[in-house]
């Protein structure tokens, strides 16, 4: 039988290699922008305009118009291909009347605007605060409920608590990777986190747990069947039995997501990208984090590990 579990520390190392750069990105982002991931107007409040001009223009030309309305730091970005002539501008919370005046000036100084292909969102700061608060509440409740659900599902298995904790640790790992990804994209490509991002994170939580349940379910089934075998062997056997179908199930959802990423509407691409990253990570962490964690716990290796480190320090 192929020994998958024996290489468990390699898997933890790979996870660390995924998480650490993300953490660095989040620290950098916190220093530069004040938050670990860049927040959209959904959370901070503000106004976001998408303007499609009928002719090419430059970032500076657009910025100048906004500056003339006393916006000190408008964030101007080109969207899509250059020939789309579509620009996105983020400013502080501004009422619709003023936005309309700005649009008139833009049309005046740069060129006609294609209104039918433009959009505007404004979010008051109070609403932004509320969204932030309910977002935090949603994530916490989701994690708690899902954790409780796992513990209830596995209540008849010895050490149900361990299954719950392992699944949640792996889930946190998935969220960290997704957050790190978005943080890095925020620094590199100005990606911002909106209400949909939160949706992606919560969906990843759902997927992540779902995937872990498939693997854990097999361990649950094999444990009474093979009482004589050491735990490590049972777990290894269970993984080998389900790895195939775990990959195939995730594959189908990934097909759909990749199709949306490649051909779908621009406004949900970031949302789908976060979900895809989360899903790939969740598939990895089910097999290579959650289950090995169970084994580590069973064998009491955490204590051993620290003893070994201390031993080495003492020798040095």
């Amino acid at each position: 039988m192929f020994d998958l579990i024996g290489k468990r520390y390699w898997y933890f190392l790979i996870s660390a290699l995924l998480i650490v750069p993300g953490l660095i990105a989040m620290i950098y982002s916190t220093v530069t922008y004040g938050t670990p991931v860049r927040l959209s107007i959904d959370f901070t409040g503000g106004s976001l305009m998408v303007i499609k001009f009928q002719q090419p223009t430059t970032e500076d030309a657009i910025r100048d118009v906004f500056m003339s309305y006393d916006f000190t730091n408008p964030v101007v970005q080109q969207l899509g291909r250059p020939e789309d002539n579509t620009w996105q501008v983020r400013i502080g919370f501004t009422d619709v009347e003023t936005v309309d005046e700005i649009k008139a000036s833009l049309a005046d100084q740069i060129g006609p605007i294609d209104e039918a292909s433009s959009s505007l969102s404004t979010v008051g700061p109070a609403v932004g605060h509320e969204v932030t608060r309910s977002a935090a509440v949603a994530v916490v409740i989701a994690s708690l409920l899902v954790g409780a659900f796992i513990i209830i599902t596995f209540r008849r298995v010895p050490n149900a608590f361990r299954y719950g904790v392992s699944a949640i640790s792996a889930m946190l790992h998935d969220i960290l990777v997704a957050l790190g990804f978005v943080s890095a994209m925020g620094i590199l490509f100005n990606w911002e986190v909106d209400a949909l991002f939160l949706t992606a994170i919560l969906t990843v939580i759902g997927f992540s747990v779902q995937d872990k349940i498939v693997v854990f379910d097999r361990i649950r089934e094999n444990t009474p069947k093979r009482r004589g075998e050491p735990y490590e062997t049972i777990v290894n056997r269970s993984i080998l039995e389900v790895i195939h179908r775990s990959l195939t199930t995730q594959l189908n959802a990934m097909f759909v997501m990749i199709a949306i990423l490649l051909f779908g509407g621009a406004s949900i691409k970031q949302f789908i990208a976060v979900m895809l990253i989360g899903m790939v990570t969740a598939t990895y962490s089910s097999i290579f984090n959650a289950v090995p964690l169970l084994v580590v716990w069973e064998k009491g290796e955490v204590g051993q590990f620290f003893r070994r480190v201390r031993g080495r320090e003492a020798a040095a």
């Binding site: 309309d100 404004t122 969906t203 759902g206 759909v256």
Partner: protein
């Protein structure tokens, strides 16, 4: 077993046929009139604002922090906004309360968002104020003794006199001397409430072509107005909307018949907007715009087109994958998946009465549907993998099929429950602040996951059993058809 299975198969076929009927693009809707039963239902796709373009506004009662907002006032405001929105001529507007102090308004396909917002939001408090001898420049913000929500006390005794028809049109003097914003409080003579709602109309002056709004006072207010105008001939009678002067005519002679016109430099749209506000009354509470989202119609249609392409490609890959990887059972799963897609779409159009009557499709909603389709085959994969395992373990084909379905069930159930939990939280989160995007995604995903438990298990099992009865011998000989 066989009879029961045949019954199920017939049931599935009827269900699929019904779904196809609902899904037909040219569906005429349900119109049944049988004695006491009267059903009239349009069956069609409801597109969200992000797909068809339009405006979403979240309004909040503009009162001091912590001050209680009367429920009645909010309800009245909602009704008035509803009437104003209807008068804008938008198809399928949505006006909903959100919490205790917010109202959300969705106007699909609105052309001029700025005007729509001002029509909805402005309190629409019209006042005729006594400006005395000072001319007030239009645009000046004034203070009046008419306090917001309190109705003016009627002091005038009802009279039944019929006045002569000397209607005098108030006019703006030729060369007014602009005066600074007066700090004094101006007395209000009559307000919008004293207007006869049916007697309002827009007219155009023949001489200048300027637009005006003709009004008629109620019979209660007319004498008061007549009394005031007869005593103040020669002074200014300012007309203010939401405490902002829109015109300031001179009273040339007594207006005894209770008829007059409001002039301002109106465009046709502005005149209509004002007319609407006057017709449906002033808001009992000032509202402020908290959030707005405007999406151009082309942008939405572009998204629809792209989503359809992406969906078609993604789903084709899933269909092909199942067919190639699982062969014959894969074909059956594809069939079940096709029924799954039909059922989903039928629910979007027809809803699940009495729970809801349709699902508004948004861009994330479409993503949720596509994703749930990709996940719907998960259950089939779990079942088929299990079947293969059982076959390899040496079980007979029939036993392997039954074991595949029964053993895989716990995994399917448990994993779907975790998705449903997160969707429920998302739906709640989306509802609290009107993030219709989040709600749309959660709703289609939750519907998809629920239906998939039925199609991927019950329907596929019916197909597999039926196929096994019909072609069992062939399948036993040609194991490659099972992908083993």
């Amino acid at each position: 077993m066989r009879d029961k299975n045949l019954g199920l198969l017939i049931g599935v076929i009827i269900l699929a046929a019904a779904a196809i009927w609902v899904d037909l693009p040219s569906n005429p809707g349900l119109h049944i009139h049988l004695g006491p039963i009267n059903i009239d239902r349009d069956i069609r796709i409801h597109q969200g604002l992000d797909l068809q373009g339009g405006l979403q506004v979240l309004l909040e009662a503009d009162v001091a922090e912590g001050e209680a907002v009367e429920r009645d006032a909010m309800d009245t405001a909602k009704v008035i906004i509803g009437s104003r929105v209807d008068a804008l001529g938008v198809t399928e507007p949505l006006v909903q309360s959100q919490g205790e102090r917010r109202i959300i308004v969705e106007l699909p396909g609105v052309q001029d968002p700025e005007l729509a917002i001002s029509t909805i939001r402005e309190t629409g408090l019209l006042e005729f104020v006594d400006a005395g001898n000072t001319f007030l420049e239009p645009g000046t913000v004034v203070r009046t003794d008419f306090g917001g929500t309190v109705a003016p006390t009627e002091e005038v005794a009802p009279t039944s006199e019929i006045t002569e028809t000397t209607t005098v049109t108030p006019t703006v003097p030729a060369s007014p001397a602009p005066s600074p914003t007066p700090e004094r409080v101006l007395p209000t003579v009559v307000t919008g409430r004293d207007l006869n709602r049916g007697g309002l109309s827009i007219g155009r002056k023949e001489t200048t072509g300027e637009l005006y709004i003709a009004f008629e006072l109620t019979s209660e207010a007319a004498p008061k107005f007549a009394d005031f105008t007869s005593k103040n001939v020669g002074s200014y009678l300012a007309i203010a909307l939401d405490k902002e002067i829109i015109s300031c005519p001179v009273i040339k002679s007594a207006i005894t018949e209770g008829k007059g016109v409001i002039e301002g430099k109106f465009t046709l749209e502005e005149a209509r907007s004002l007319l609407v506000q006057l017709q449906y009354g002033a808001l009992p509470i000032p509202l402020r715009v908290e959030t707005t989202r405007t999406i151009g119609p082309t942008l939405g249609q572009d998204s629809v087109r792209k989503s359809v392409t992406a969906g078609a490609i993604g789903l084709s890959v899933v269909f092909l994958f199942m067919l190639i990887y699982y062969r014959f059972p894969g074909l059956l799963a594809d069939l079940a998946l096709a029924i799954y897609a039909l059922l989903n779409f039928a629910i979007y159009k027809f809803g699940l009465p009495p729970l809801f009557n349709y699902v508004t499709l948004t861009l994330p909603g479409i993503a949720g549907f596509l994703l749930s389709t990709g996940m719907a085959v998960d259950a089939n994969i779990l079942i088929f993998e299990r079947m293969k395992e059982e076959l390899r373990a040496g079980r007979s084909l029939g036993a392997a099929i039954e074991a595949g379905f029964s053993r895989a069930w716990t995994s399917i159930r448990d994993s779907n429950i975790s998705t449903i939990i997160t969707c429920a939280i998302l739906f709640y989160f989306g509802s609290t602040f009107g993030a219709s995007m989040v709600k749309g995604f959660a709703l289609t995903l939750i519907i998809g996951v629920s239906i998939s438990m039925f199609t991927a298990v019950t329907i596929t099992r019916t197909f597999v059993r039926f196929a096994f009865d019909a072609f069992g011998d062939t399948l036993r000989d040609k194991k490659w058809l099972l992908g083993v």
